[in-house]
């Protein structure tokens, strides 16, 4: 377990989570910190585009799905009656499995009176470990066609070694995949933008982290567009604004070219280091 685990999250997509997470990680590595970037956005991992890691290990994330022995199965239908996800259908004397609907609860195996069901592994994703710019790198990718996000995110989190600091790039939103990515972290950085959409989704994200009892603060990206309603909301709700990042053409160019903004803007690198100090204070409050 790292000494400090920071999750970079947002209610809304496209606010700059990956920009903040990747640049923060490398800025800290250059300050001499033992830090790892952890991409938990397993449906759309894109930190690797900016970090170009050297991957030295890959592990499969697996779930258990039932396998039905047709010689033992009597087609009694107990398993299909039990399955709340409708993943099993009794069709005459045989049972058909729809693995994409299975939630791996194992109930069908328990209720089968003939003991015709065993469990077999199904690969639902891959977790890569490596290094990038002196920092550790971990990311997870959901298999095409798989819908079981949680086991992949969970393996990504378990793969994080004993770094001083881990920076988690969380998926956008406030649903199960995000909750799995931010669960039990020391601090959540909510990235938003000063627009009505940014505010609406920030309010949802704040509701989520409060429900989870996590410490958190806000980064306002592209802070010189839109209006001041995000700031007003943060003041009213007593939420610390850790950093305001004005729109910057050089940073936008770096992003569009798949480069780290801290390599193009010393101001941005300072912002990332300052952000870390604010987070560190907040996490140990």
């Amino acid at each position: 377990m790292p000494n400090l685990t920071i999750a970079v999250a947002s209610g809304k997509g496209g606010t700059g989570k990956t920009t903040v997470a990747t640049n923060l990680t490398v800025a800290l590595a250059r300050e001499g910190l033992d830090v790892a970037y952890v991409d938990c956005d397993v449906e759309e991992p894109n930190g690797h585009i900016f970090l170009q890691p050297t991957v030295d290990r890959e592990e499969e994330a697996r779930v258990a799905i039932p396998s039905i022995d047709p010689d033992i199965c009597t087609g009694c239908g107990e398993c299909s009656d039990f399955c709340q996800y409708n993943a099993l259908a009794v069709l005459g004397p045989s049972v058909m499995l729809f693995p994409e609907l299975c939630h791996s609860c194992g109930g069908c195996r328990l209720v089968c009176p003939e003991k015709a069901i065993t469990e077999i592994p199904k690969t639902v994703g891959r977790v890569r470990t490596g290094t990038s710019h002196e920092a550790g790198f971990i990311d997870g990718t959901l298999e095409v066609g798989a819908t079981q996000i949680h086991p992949v995110t969970s393996l990504v989190r378990r793969t994080v070694g004993s770094h001083q600091c881990a920076v988690i790039d969380a998926p956008p939103g406030t649903t199960c995949p995000t909750i799995e990515a931010v669960r039990d972290v020391d601090y959540v950085v909510l990235v938003t933008e000063p627009t009505p959409f940014g505010l609406n989704d920030l309010e949802l994200a704040v509701g989520m982290v409060r429900e989870l009892g996590l410490r958190f603060g806000v980064v306002i990206n592209r802070s010189d567009i839109g209006d001041d309603r995000v700031e007003t909301f943060c003041i009213r709700e007593n939420i610390p604004v850790l950093l305001s990042i004005p729109y910057d053409l050089e940073c936008a160019r770096a992003y569009a070219g798949g480069h780290l903004a801290i390599d193009r803007s010393e101001t941005f690198r300072h912002m990332m280091v300052d952000l870390y100090h604010r987070v560190e204070e907040g996490a140990h409050d």
Binding site: N86, A89, L91, G92, M96, F98, E100, L101
Partner: protein
């Protein structure tokens, strides 16, 4: 021959339900004796996922040779095919009209699903 038709109500005068998995009823018609059996599909109408699969299971239990419905998704189609049940896609009239069309050999069996699953 047994024909099962997805229906919006439980009589032969009901309209064919264009939805298979979430149809209100299934009407089984036996060409031997001309009798209808209605089966309610209410437990699948509100299913979060896999309605078509469970509807297929319920339909297969009626031992049909042919199913007539407006739209059948990929999983339901796989399940029906596994049970060697043919599927004809039609929902432009009533259950009784569907049966007349089958008897007159005017409905062709489909060779695949015609709609995407709602889940995937």
């Amino acid at each position: 021959m047994i024909i099962v038709i997805s229906a919006q109500d439980n009589t032969p005068e009901s309209r064919v339900d264009p939805r298979f998995g979430r149809a209100a009823y299934f009407l089984a018609y036996n060409t031997e004796d001309g009798r209808y059996t209605a089966v309610a599909n209410e437990q699948n109408v509100m299913a979060a996922q896999g309605a078509g699969i469970q509807a297929a299971q319920a339909v297969v239990a009626l031992h049909p040779d042919l199913v007539v419905s407006g739209n059948v998704g990929p999983k339901a189609f796989r399940a029906l095919s596994a049970a060697k049940v043919k599927v004809a896609l039609w929902s432009e009239g009533t259950v009784a009209e569907a049966i007349e069309l089958v008897k007159a050999n005017k409905l062709q069996a489909a060779d695949g699903a015609n709609v995407e699953g709602h889940w995937m």
